[in-house]
Amino acid sequence: MAATIAHAAVHHAAPQGFIRKYLFSVDHKVIGIQYLTLSLIAVFVGMALSWVMRIHLAWPDAHIPLLGWLSPNGAPNGLMTPEYYLSLMTMHGTIMAFFVLTAAPMAGFGNFMLPIQVGAADMAFPRLNMSSFWVTLVGFILACATFVIPDGPPLSGWTAYAPLSAVGPVAGPGQGWGQNLWGLSIVCFCIASLLGALNFIVTTLDLRTKGMKLSRLPLSTWGWFIDAWVSLLAFAVLLPTCLLLVLDRLGGTSFFIPSGLVINDQLQPHAGGSPLLFQHLFWFFGHPEVYIIILPAFGIVSHVMPTFIRKPLVGGWKVMTFAEVAVGMLSFVVWGHHMFVSGMSPFMAMVFSVPTLLITIPSVIAVLVWVFSLYHSNIRFDTPLLFSLGFVSLFISGGIGGFFLAQPSTDSYLHATSFVVGHFHFTMGLSAIFATFAGFYYWYPKMFGRVMNEKLGKVHFWLSFVLVYCVFMTMHLTGFAGAVRRYSALVDDFMVQLIPANKFMTVAALLLGATQFIFLFNVIWSRFKGQKASDNPWGATTLEWDTTSPPPFDNFGGRQITVYHGPMEYDGDASVMQTSPAASVAGT
């Protein structure tokens, strides 16, 4: 069908004045940077929390500076109480999973890059896009507010299992308004994510410039597009789950609270609910969530790699996209593997176990594509590529743990041990973070017109890579000894023996955290002092590199963009822009 004239998403001329331009801007680029800034703040908050927790685990009677000031009840003059440990653990999980890992790779880079990569002037619904960010921000503020209210943040973990999360203040410190605010914060995040996903889907389908067939979309765009579908369906189920939880807490309903609960010798006024219902609804979202986090990472890495290995990925766009679609679909069938020992019907355990193992097939295909694309390539080891390779290595290591946790028989020993903690930090935590770093170093010149410092970047990578393994591989290993997670102190006889290992992990974690300040410094310093970037510093081929750095308000200065090639036209030093009519060099 012939290309049709439709209106580009320029709804108005470039806004003037600071507030319209940078604060309440409808420009997807500004919104993307706002999201990234939010995540950057969130990630350092979350990291600080993990520091405090690690210190407490290794040196239980350490007086941690500033903590006493932050929470006089939770940590009287810096000495942490068990409940405060759990509160920090809850907020670490919540902030990292939602406001960092879900927000940065998807909403951050996606917002900035997706419209440019498809050749659009903005998202399909710019005002909706702006509101998504501000709703996310409200959610983040609500989450942080739990730190300042008297009874502190909730202690029920980021999974907020009912009835602990549902019965109210009687269940423990932070289970009053802390848990309410937590629930409302997640409701906000759900709404924002749904609006964002809607925007991504429509933009990808309806705003592609002439010649940008689906087969020519960059793999990062594919990642965000598939991810948007997964978020759309998954968050649509988390939203009612959180609403019902809040209703149980504030409305007196009993969806998740069974009859005859007695807490502190008080018979609870609830009847007939089911904790398992909450777990089912939560994990119906919760497992797709980990793929919501990792799919954009797949996309970013698959987008960054070809640029630096100077050849297309094996199998072109088809194989990787197939893998991503397969992973996205399977992710809805496997949530029960979080519930093998939860009292779920043991027969369902088998039903959930098989697809959970099957999901390794598309994952393995993706990994093979990344690894074997290096075969006879010309690798240029710039920082973005190093982080991409780091991502692949971490994803392999993390994926391996999946074999153990996917089988009910082995999971029944390893469930709720530090093996699980190590596993998900590798797969969804650090893989996604490494991909985000790759994206940062790769797109920073485009976003700010200056290149990040290469030397600092390399130091950042090497230290992070090694230390990440020191922390989380050790967690895997201690998991085999049955080290139980979510313990604020190691008191059991078999746990005490693991204190040395924990000291090692703590030291490594502190260094790992310190390393991230190199990155923070690099981001801020390069913004002002970094070397000026050309329009296309990496010799890449996709549309974002076919405009100025940073791009103008409508992305291409009103030029008609026409696409002739796929996104991976690399052959050694030769490469062809997607927009250039010249002959293909990679034959993709």
Partner: protein, 208 residues
């Protein structure tokens, strides 16, 4: 489709790939929203089903008067869908006046539906039903499920009426066109569609 897309063109035009659905972005966006909203309703109804399956005694509190009321509400909502259709069709042949007239009818019917619904609620509350209490001695979950699910649907209806009011105003003033009316219509039909599940599951399954 290009014609209507051109109709919504702003001052700035470039060549683009055709939409795979040959559908403008507002309408596609509404469809995507409908998909996710359908899942949200589904989750509520599944929770209700789970409660009910797990309950030793459930009890079916609705007498015929409630069912009759429900039937009237269904009729009202269905006819509002038809008037919405009329509004969309009128707008597509450019009959602005009649389109606005039908939009007004739709809003009126929507309001009547909400009124009937609230009357039902007041009746139940007067009988002592609460989110956490069942005066007939059955499972307390009934109140919880009923008020939550129908409450969510009622919210959609009210939002719909308000949205229609905005669209109608914009359409009259000329800053919106028939594609906005059609998109609003999609949402309205979806609210109707949800009711087609809520009515049998929340009312009929609880009739004694």
């Amino acid at each position: 489709m290009s014609q209507s897309a051109v109709a919504s063109v702003s001052h700035h035009e470039v060549l683009m790939e055709p939409s795979p659905y040959s559908m403008d972005k507002k309408k596609l966006g509404m469809w995507v929203f409908i998909v996710s909203d359908a899942c949200t309703f589904a989750a509520f109804l599944f929770a209700y089903g789970y409660m009910r399956v797990g309950a030793p005694v459930w009890g079916t509190p609705f007498g015929f008067s409630s069912i009759a009321n429900g039937m009237i509400m269904t009729a009202v909502l269905l006819s509002s869908s038809l008037s919405m259709l009329a509004a969309v069709r009128a707008s597509q042949v450019g009959e602005k006046a009649s389109s606005n007239k039908w939009l007004a009818v739709t809003m009126l019917l929507g309001t009547i539906f909400a009124g009937l619904h609230l009357r039902e609620w007041y009746k139940l509350i007067a009988e002592g039903w609460r989110l956490f209490y069942n005066p007939t001695g059955g499972a307390a979950q009934f109140g919880a499920a009923f008020f939550t699910v129908t409450g969510l649907h009622l919210t959609h209806v009210v939002t719909g009426v308000i949205a229609l009011a905005f669209v109608a105003r914009g359409y009259k003033q000329g800053c919106y066109d028939e594609s906005h009316v059609e998109t609003a219509g999609l949402y309205w039909h979806f609210v109707d569609l949800v009711w087609m599940f809520v009515f049998p599951l929340m009312y009929l399954m609880n009739a004694h």
